[in-house]
């Protein structure tokens, strides 16, 4: 067992023990949010780390949140079925947007622009279908819990934050495992090759379109799960907080800030953004509208210029340079000593 493993194990036990430490509901809420967003950002980085920069993941989050709530409110279908349905729909949308892009080689900035449009399309659709979705006002999943029955398994509604905490921890861990599975598969090599030299990768036998689609669909599916859990936890969703440009850019910012090339980077990004938002809310309040977004924007520029590997990526890099260790391939250039 090496040092990073020990740090991970201790860190994980520390996370698990958060509810037992007697924090207030507010702290628990922040912890739940950090892990849930960490999961969503991890989902984004599954494709983002390979140069498939999506500015439209709000679309998949919106699909996840709204599919599940709509199925429950209008058809009485439990979220336990709703979530898999939402994942399938989200993957199908990922396929629909990905296939033409990848087949006709829309890459880089152009791909990002296509995805940007997608997130707005989903947001506008949610608003336009207001008879069903509640439009801009948002919607609440029909509640079945009350003082007498505080929890409903079927409705996936729990009034107890500790229960939510453990659900979200489980989802987050699954997210990290998916990230690692991709990281250790041939798909990772294939995608790194594709992102660096697409034609060369194809002539080595990489089915470029299919490989990109697999990664995109995994990412879309994960984000849909995140959106669905978000809706069930908050018991309120609206188009602005689950879809559209703002949320999509927040996802990109957090994943880059934390470090999209390392497993826990997106989670660190979630902690950073939450601390920033909550910190601003407590110090500045709501008087300066849009201040957090402005700071996000400025920080994004700074991160991309000075710390493209993100906070955690940078920390690991410094640590490795000290100890002389290597962590295998990275997507960012790393100078190597010559002869």
């Amino acid at each position: 067992m090496n040092i990073p493993m020990i740090i991970k194990a201790v860190g994980f036990l520390a996370v698990l023990s958060i509810p037992a430490l007697g924090f207030s509901d507010y702290v628990l809420h922040i912890a739940i949010s950090a892990l849930l967003w960490g999961f969503i950002y991890t989902g984004w980085s599954v494709m983002g780390r390979f140069g498939l920069v999506s500015l439209g993941h709000g679309a998949f989050m919106g699909i996840g949140a709204y599919m599940v709530t709509m199925l429950w409110n209008h058809a009485g279908i439990t979220p336990w079925i709703g979530i898999p349905v939402a994942v399938v729909v989200s993957m199908a949308v990922g396929f629909m947007i990905g296939f033409p892009c990848f087949r006709f080689r829309i890459t880089g900035h152009y791909f990002a622009l296509v995805t940007l449009a997608l997130s707005e399309v989903v947001r506008l659709l949610i608003v336009a279908l207001r008879d069903y979705t509640g439009g801009s006002l948002g919607v609440t999943p029909d509640s079945v819990i009350s003082a007498d029955t505080p929890n409903s398994f079927i409705a996936m509604q729990f009034s107890d934050k500790v229960t939510w905490f453990y659900i979200v921890v489980a989802v987050w861990v699954v997210g990290l495992l998916v990230w690692r599975a991709v990281d250790r598969s041939m798909i990772r090599y294939a995608m790194e090759a594709v992102s660096q030299e697409e034609d060369a990768a194809a002539s080595l036998g990489v089915h470029v379109t299919r490989t990109k689609l697999i990664v995109t669909m995994i990412s879309a599916g994960m984000t849909a799960v995140g959106g669905a859990i978000y809706g069930q936890y908050q018991l309120y969703i609206n188009p602005e907080t689950t879809s559209g440009i703002a949320i999509s850019l927040q996802i990109v910012f957090a994943a880059i800030a934390g470090g999209m090339f390392v497993q826990l980077g997106p989670t660190v990004g979630a902690v950073i953004t939450l601390l920033l938002t909550e910190g601003l809310r407590q110090t500045v309040g709501h008087d300066v509208h849009g201040l957090d977004v402005m700071i996000y924007g400025a920080m994004l520029v700074l991160f991309i210029i000075y710390m493209p590997r993100g906070v955690l990526g940078r920390v690991i890099e410094v640590f490795e340079n000290r100890t002389g260790g290597t962590s295998g391939p990275t997507t960012q250039p790393r100078p190597q000593p010559g002869e």
Partner: protein, 234 residues
């Protein structure tokens, strides 16, 4: 082994190849020579199906490649070492070689072929943990050829292996090509460095503006007055 019949290809409305027919027999080394813009690279790219075939027929060991997509060509035993190497610059040498053995049928042979490539090019073994993009041009060419060998191909397509390299290194690259030949690979090589390439191949085709203008043994082409005047400067 490889046969092209009346092949036409191009990019969009621009046609790069007109009615090109050529043949590479098993065990042979064949060069396609010609000036800049003659369509030499396009010729290899159409064999690899990286660009679409507009007409004619391509067959490998009697099997038509016309409907085979780019990522399946390597499974037919054809490895393409592209122009300017096209290594994955931010992967290490060993990872680049690993990508060369990406196809399912090559993965079980990975260790033995890696050992073989390292034996052939000991320099690559020394550099195996270095990022490919940080190596010199000659080393990168070595890595690109090694990557091509990792799939265990029957036919190696080499696109301008000497391009962009210093004269001293060019010599070394042609030595590499000679060694690949001695290893028994069938080679189709495209080159502008005509005098050098004709020394390492058996036969050659002269390609000009997308058409085959001449073909023959290397000796015939070397001794041909037109070729000498136009391309060798004698």
């Amino acid at each position: 082994m490889l046969e092209l019949k009346n092949v036409s290809a191009g990019y969009g409305t621009f046609q790069a190849l007109f009615d090109v027919s050529l043949e590479v027999r098993a065990g042979e080394a064949v060069a396609v020579i010609g000036p800049n813009g003659a369509g030499k690279t396009s010729l290899l790219r159409v064999i690899s199906k990286v660009i679409d075939l507009n007409g004619g027929e391509i067959a490998m060991e009697g099997v038509s490649l016309n409907d085979v997509p780019a990522h399946k060509i390597i499974e037919m035993g054809i490895a393409h070492v592209p122009e300017h190497r096209r290594l994955f610059p931010r992967l290490t040498v060993e990872e680049n070689l690993k990508m060369g053995g990406f196809i399912a049928s090559a993965r079980s042979h990975f260790d033995e072929r890696l050992a073989y490539v390292y034996e052939l090019f000991p320099r690559m073994k020394e550099r195996r943990h270095q990022l490919a993009g940080t190596m010199s041009g000659g080393e990168q060419q070595m890595c690109a050829i090694g990557r091509g060998l990792m799939s265990g191909p029957k036919l190696l397509l080499l696109d301008e292996p000497s391009a962009g390299l210093a004269p001293v290194i060019v010599q070394q690259v042609f030595d590499l090509v000679r060694r690949i030949r001695e290893e028994g690979y069938t080679v189709l090589i495209v080159e502008q460095n005509i005098q050098q390439v004709l020394k390492v191949v058996d036969r050659a085709y002269l390609l000009e503006v997308g058409q085959i203008k001449m073909s023959g043994s290397s000796r015939e082409l070397l001794e041909n007055d037109d070729v000498r005047r136009a391309y060798i400067g004698l």
